[in-house]
Assembly symmetry: C2
Homo-oligomer: 216 residues x 2
Amino acid sequence: MNETLNITDRSRLRRSHERGHFDRDSINSILDAQPMCSVGYVIDGIPFVTPTLQWREGNRVYWHGSSASRALRNSRDAQVCLSVAILDGFVLARSGMHHSVNSRSVTLFGTAVRVEDPVEKLNKLARFVNGLFPGRYEGLRPDHVQDLKATMVLGMEISEGSAKVRTGGPNDEEEDYALPIWAGVIPVHTSVGEPIPDPRNIDGVPVPNHVQTFKL
Amino acid sequence: MNETLNITDRSRLRRSHERGHFDRDSINSILDAQPMCSVGYVIDGIPFVTPTLQWREGNRVYWHGSSASRALRNSRDAQVCLSVAILDGFVLARSGMHHSVNSRSVTLFGTAVRVEDPVEKLNKLARFVNGLFPGRYEGLRPDHVQDLKATMVLGMEISEGSAKVRTGGPNDEEEDYALPIWAGVIPVHTSVGEPIPDPRNIDGVPVPNHVQTFKL
């Protein structure tokens, strides 16, 4: 197992304010902050990118889908690239060239392996639900066996990849700071709105704590 | 030119509340709503996914980066997959299986073509800046020739791809609606914070309208 996360030169984003972060804590914190990810895979030499949700358990990252999914069938036992990117702001500079975005991103490479054991698969899916909504899974109607069969869980070791983070303001050419041009950052936030109960909820069913306190 | 956008079965996301949208208006509205995208490409059979910003002009989508970028050099004249995915909410159902996300996504396939003509490239980059911040480009310090040379702009025709949209609440099994389980939607919004001026802005430089009214 390669414990050292490899530094890649795959991103064009490295600029002055940017730092490559290759330690597990940096990578994990970005994975844990945003479940939405993009999984890249290859079919007959053609690149495909599928948005899906990822969740992390220790040094592995997982995602799931229908067992019939073309994306999952073609990712299984194949080389994939999993990318999480969070937009934190727009950086407005004094020249077009130095405009940028503040962002956090992780790119992981590896072989996607299917979780074969049904009990392990169920545990992974329960961790997925509970990772977003602590304690929710145990209160749900138990999964039907046929639904589990129709679901594929893929996992990948977090062993090759990198995190990239850009923060802060614009980084202009020294002579451009004298120009009367507004420069700065427009922050971008992801926020969670008021929960919308299903009209078919049973009267009086309480809003669970994992809904009331949900944050992204 | 293929004016009919092809329906693909590449996404596993199609469920009851979901509709595939294959008309230009649906695809364009999603591309225009979120500049962050993921570009998938292949190097030596290995899939790569790079987050970047896209912008649209008519029936073409563009993205850019350093001319030295491995991502761009390997995408040029090659088959790529460009994906935009917007998370609109978490859908909490009465079983794990029916949990979902509300989202809008576009997946485009095609060959990435470099914008060769320097004047056209400059125009594309100006449209990129002005697309986000109307009128900003004309007020900036003009781009240096060497900076333009160091920048590559790639474009792709929007001719093969699909949009997928899921909205609404959970879609549970009929017998599960009798269960005393809270189900519903937790909406997710992207919002823009108060602009943060660069401390080195010239005293009294006004905050432009394109900053004050910026929305995502």
